[in-house]
C-alpha cells in the first residue's frame, strides 16, 4: 500500500470522527454547523478516476449519515458534488486542470476560494433540501445553506492553510 493511499484513508477516518464528535455539536446560534468532512472530496487527487471518487464519496456520506441518524442525505449530497467536481475544477482552475497537474497546496488562494465555495454551496443546498424535504420551507433551506456554507468555507480554508505548510 502506497503512502498516498494511507494518507487518504487516515484523512477519511479523521474527518469522519472530527465531524461527528466535534463539529456536529457546535450548533452555533442554535442550528449552524460546519460540515468540514467535504474537504475530503475537495482535496481528492485529481488524477484518480472519477468512478472511484463517486464511490468513496458515497461511503463518506453514508458514514456521516449512520452517525447522525439522517437517512441518506449526506450520502446523496456527497455523491452529487463528487460527480460534478470536474466541472467545478475546470471552472475555477481553468487550463491548469486540463494538464491534470493540480497541487492544491500550490494554487492561489483566490482560485481555491472559488473552488471551495462552489463545492460547499452545492453540497449544502442538496443536503438541506433533502433534509427539510419540503419546498414550502425554501427560506429555511436557503438560510441554513448560507450560514453553514460561510462557516464551512472558512474552516476549510483555515485547515488547508494550516496543514499545507507542513508538507513543503
Amino acid at each position: 500500500m502506497s503512502s498516498a493511499s494511507i494518507q487518504l484513508i487516515s484523512r477519511f477516518v479523521i474527518l469522519v470522527f472530527v465531524q461527528v464528535l466535534i463539529l456536529n455539536n457546535i450548533n452555533f446560534l442554535g442550528y449552524i454547523n460546519p460540515y468540514l468532512y467535504i474537504l475530503f472530496i475537495m482535496l481528492f487527487p485529481v488524477r484518480n478516476n472519477r468512478t472511484a471518487i463517486v464511490f468513496i464519496s458515497f461511503l463518506l456520506g453514508l458514514c456521516i449519515d449512520i452517525f447522525s441518524d439522517s437517512g441518506g442525505v449526506h450520502a446523496a449530497a456527497c455523491v452529487f458534488v463528487a460527480y460534478i467536481r470536474p466541472t467545478f475544477l475546470k471552472f475555477s482552475f481553468g487550463t491548469v486542470y486540463d494538464y491534470q497537474t493540480i497541487k492544491f497546496n500550490q494554487t492561489e488562494l483566490s482560485t481555491r476560494l472559488t473552488y471551495f465555495t462552489l463545492i460547499t454551496v452545492v453540497h449544502h443546498l442538496v443536503l438541506f433540501s433533502l433534509e427539510v424535504f419540503n419546498i414550502s420551507k425554501i427560506i429555511l433551506i436557503l438560510q441554513k445553506t448560507l450560514f453553514s456554507s460561510i462557516f464551512t468555507i472558512l474552516l476549510c480554508l483555515i485547515m488547508t492553510i494550516l496543514f499545507s505548510n507542513k508538507r513543503k
Binding site: G30, N33, F55, D69, G71, A76, V79
Partner: protein, 274 residues
Amino acid sequence: MQQIINFVFRNKTFLLFLLLFGVSLFLTIQSHSYHKSKFIHSANYLTGGVYKQVNGVKQYFNLKEENNALLEENRQLKMLLYNIEIDTTNYSTLDSTYLGDLYKFRTADVYKNSYSLTKNYLTIDKGKKDSIKVDFGVVTSKGIVGIIENTSRNYASVLSVLNTKSRINAQLKKSNHIGSLTWDAKSYEFVQLVDVSKFAKVKVGDTIITGGQSTIFPQGILIGSIDSFYIDAGGDTYTINVRLFNDMTNIGHVYVIENLNAAEVKSLEHKIDE
C-alpha cells in the same frame, strides 16, 4: 450486445452516480416515514460504541447540573411522599394505586443528542438486552423527550419531540381538550400543539401535558407552557406555541416508560379497525 456493453463502459461513472444517488434518495425517503428507518440509524454496535466512549468523558462536565437535577427531583418526590394524605383528593380520579402495575420505568443515559436538524434523534445506552422495545416513551424529570424508534442489542434510538416526523397526543391541563404535538423546526425551545378545538379556553402560561389517548405515555406527563396561540385559517382550531419545560440541548439521564397494557389496548383498537 457489444454496443450495450460499450455504452455501459463509456458511461460507467454516470451510471454509478445514478445508482448511488438513487440509493441515498431511497434511504432519505425511507427515513421520512415513521418506523421505516431500519437500515441507517445510530443504534448499532459501531456507532453506539463510539458514542459510549465519548460520553464517558463528556459526562464529567455536567456532573454538577445532573446532581442538582436529581436533588430537585428527589425533593419533589419527597414532597409527594409526605404530603400524600393531604393530596389524596386530587388523585381520586387517577387511581394512583394502580399506577405501579400499569407502567414500568427504566433509567437510561443519553449518548448522543441532536437538536439543530429538522429530524433529530437521541441514542440511549439501553437496548433489546434491557427489554427496551419500539414505541416506549422517553421522559426526564422535567418533561417528555420522545419515543423509541429503533433498538439494537445494547442501544436504542429515540425519535425526539424536535423532529418534524413526531406526533404526540397532548392536552391542556385545565380542560380535556386534546391536540397533537408537532414541531415546525424553527426553534428547539418551542413545539406546536395543533388541532385544538376553538371551544377550549386557551390562556398564555397554561400548562400542556400528555393526553391519555396514546399507549405510549401515561396521562399527565409535563410538556411545556403556552407561549402564544392563534386561530388557524380554517377558523375551527387553535395552533398553540408551547415552550418546552425540558432544555432539549442538555439531556443526560432519561426514564424509559413501558406501558404494560399497550398490547391489550392495541389489539382492541385493531379489532375496531377491521
